[in-house]
């Protein structure tokens, strides 16, 4: 199977969807010059009407994307997680609420693709891992691809989905390479990954580790370490947080009796908190040990390379948590 980078997978999905459907267009800052790497060449293929460079106006152009989606367009909006705060009102008050408050009249097939920089010295203003915020507000589907295959398949699904979606392009995952099947090798001729289906990254019997976004890589690394000690770790990547495939998680905990969650979001009210609370309610009787959250420390993100790595989950912290659940 051909290998490609995460960013190339995003670019390929975008191109395919734009080819397939005229109503799909891309909008964002400096996308014609492809500042974030995933839109190179698109303006030559699709023209300036469908590859739109915007001014620095996140309320204005997020809202314009939403408005256009109300009347038949399917915008993909490229931005950075930290700039969500600037356009937040359009995302929450409008995108997430319009359909419901208009009694189902509004359909909003708008997709945000947001680069989630962190762990690279970007400092507090550019390191937001804010998917928990959107999880709390109903009305937007939350996608966290952690490898090129899922990035391509989930983005294509998001573009076709008729609800607002946000794709969080994880700062750790974006540097990954991986296998992505060529379309001609696929039964349906295209790669579509469904929402709400977790991926069991590896099966195991002693402990369940759910990795969220960049946490998946740490979970895998930790599983490697534990394997050497004869501990069998089941690693689960939910892939989408809204909808969340809680069945797969609960089933795994039923088997292992132990749960660790690795989530790079700030730990308070995180995806890890949510998953822990679900299992503490619905999977309680399977549990043989405390549920361990390995999430970011509750501080802002420091710039210094001497400090920043101390904030996030690491394979070592996941290993320590696994050990604790086993002790």
């Amino acid at each position: 199977m051909p290998e490609m980078t995460y960013v190339a997978a995003i670019a390929e999905a975008t191109r395919e969807e734009m080819e397939r459907d005229e109503s799909v267009y891309l909008m964002g800052e400096d996308i014609r010059q492809s500042v974030y790497g995933a839109s190179a060449g698109l303006v030559d293929l699709f023209g300036e009407d469908r590859v739109i460079d915007t001014p620095l106006s996140e309320s204005g152009f997020f809202g314009a994307a939403i408005g256009s989606s109300l009347v038949g367009q399917r915008p993909i909006v490229e931005t950075v997680t930290s700039f969500f705060w600037v356009g937040m009102d359009q995302m929450i008050s409008q995108a997430s609420k319009m359909r419901y408050m208009f009694g189902g009249q509004a359909t909003l097939p708008v997709t945000w693709r947001a680069r989630m920089f962190y762990a690279r010295g970007a400092a507090a203003h550019h390191s937001d891992r804010n998917y928990p915020v959107f999880m709390n507000c109903p009305g937007i589907k939350i996608i966290c691809p952690t490898n090129p295959y899922d990035a391509k398949g989930l983005l294509k699904t998001a573009v076709r989905d008729n609800d607002p979606c946000i794709l969080f392009e994880d700062g750790i995952a974006i540097s990954s390479r991986g296998e992505v099947p060529a379309n001609e090798d696929l039964p349906n001729g295209e790669l579509l990954v469904p929402f709400g289906e977790a991926r069991i990254v590896r099966e195991g019997t002693d402990v369940t580790v759910v990795g969220v976004a960049g946490g998946v890589a740490h979970a895998e690394a930790a599983a490697d370490v534990m394997a050497q000690e004869g501990v069998s770790v089941e690693v689960i990547d939910p892939r989408t947080l809204v909808p969340l495939d809680k069945k797969t998680i609960l089933k795994s905990v039923e088997k292992t009796g132990r749960l660790v969650i690795a989530d790079p979001a700030h730990k308070v009210c995180s995806a890890a908190s949510e998953i822990a609370s679900i299992v503490a309610e619905e999977g309680f009787w399977s549990l043989q040990a405390p549920i361990m959250k390995v999430a970011s420390e509750q501080v802002n993100i420091p710039y210094s390379p001497a400090l920043e790595p101390l904030v996030y989950p690491t394979p070592e912290r996941v290993v320590a948590a696994i050990r604790e659940t086993l002790s």
Binding site: L70, V71, N162
Partner: protein, 329 residues
């Protein structure tokens, strides 16, 4: 371009509809039958009616919290509007939206909005879609003098000008944002004075005169359809009633004098339009009265419909959340 007779009569009818609808709303609020928030449009009818008369059904509008006049002017259904206010299944939004969120996508009403200025970018986006789709649909957004100070307005006007979008920014300057005079919230004399900052025409129009509004919007619509871009129009008007029903804590006189209110009431947009029609021989007083009586019946029927419409069922709670549903968390 002055409106033709049919248009003039349609405008009159819609003004009656709004006025009588709002009077009914005030009444059922006072009796406690209507409990949610509601922001009466009385005194400002000429703006929505003049504007919407210059639009086609396929054109888009978006509005704000002062939300009954716009959809009625655009041709919305009184029954479904009133049922919505009562939170009924037969309402436009099946009772999910209430007063501030009326919408009828079938006639281009993309929705009223409770967060001030939040539909300005939305309308701009509908105009962008129109352009991308090669359609000649125009998009018009109603917003207040207060709203004009939001960043969303600035950003939207800049985008619309840059991209030459078929959108009309229609500021309903009723001179107050709740209790705050626009003189204390807008740092220029008129909101329309800001148009040059976006390289678009700025027009100040008498918002009590439906014909004047119609004419100004017609020019803007022609511009927009011809691909010449956006226009900012400021209609100077006045809200005759309290900011919202139930907000009696704020007495009118505390921030605006009784005299001021009385002065403006003398310029009732319905009187002005009736007189224009009668004085130019378009209609007689009797024709006007007859039309009004018909509307009285319409509104009464709407109220009956709204009252008889059932409440949504508990199971409806989870309907209308997703276009492509997902399992409950």
């Amino acid at each position: 371009m002055p409106p033709d007779r049919d248009t003039l009569m349609l405008m009159l009818e819609r003004m009656y509809r709004i006025r009588l609808f709002e009077e009914t709303v005030i009444e059922i609020h006072s009796t406690g039958e209507l409990q949610g928030p509601a922001h009466p449009y009385i005194g400002e009818e000429a703006v929505a009616v003049g504007a919407c008369a210059a639009l086609r059904d396929t054109d888009y509008i978006a509005g704000n919290h002062r939300s009954h006049g716009h959809p009625i002017a655009k041709g919305g259904d009184l029954k479904r509007a009133l049922a919505e206010l009562l939170g009924k299944q037969g309402g436009y939004c099946h009772g999910k939206g209430g007063s501030m969120h009326l919408a009828d996508f079938s006639v281009g009403i993309l929705g009223e909005s409770g967060i001030v200025a939040s539909s300005v970018p939305i309308a701009t986006g509908a105009a962008l879609a129109s352009k991308q789709q090669g359609k000649d649909f125009v998009s018009l957004v109603f917003f207040g003098d207060g709203a004009s100070n939001q960043g969303a307005c600035h950003e939207s006007m800049n985008l619309a000008s840059l991209w030459n979008l078929p959108v009309i920014f229609l500021c309903e300057n009723n001179q107050y944002a709740i209790t705050t005079s626009y003189k204390n919230s807008v740092s220029v004399d008129h909101v329309s004075d800001r148009a040059p900052a976006y390289n678009m025409p700025g027009v100040l129009v008498d918002g009590q005169d439906a014909i004047a509004v119609y004419e100004a919007v017609t020019v803007a619509v022609q511009r927009a359809r011809a691909g010449e871009g956006p226009t900012l129009i400021e209609a100077l008007t006045y809200r005759f009633e309290d900011h919202s029903l139930g907000l009696d804590r704020i007495r009118k006189s505390a921030y605006r004098s009784e005299e001021e209110v009385e002065e403006w009431r003398k310029r009732d947009p319905l009187d002005i339009h009736e007189e224009a029609l009668i004085s130019t021989g378009v209609a007689t007083r009797e024709e006007c009265d007859a039309m009004k009586s018909d509307v009285v019946v319409l509104v009464a029927e709407a109220l009956e419909f709204a009252r008889e419409s059932p409440y949504p069922e508990p199971s409806d709670l989870f309907e209308d959340m997703w276009a492509d549903p997902i399992p409950a968390p």
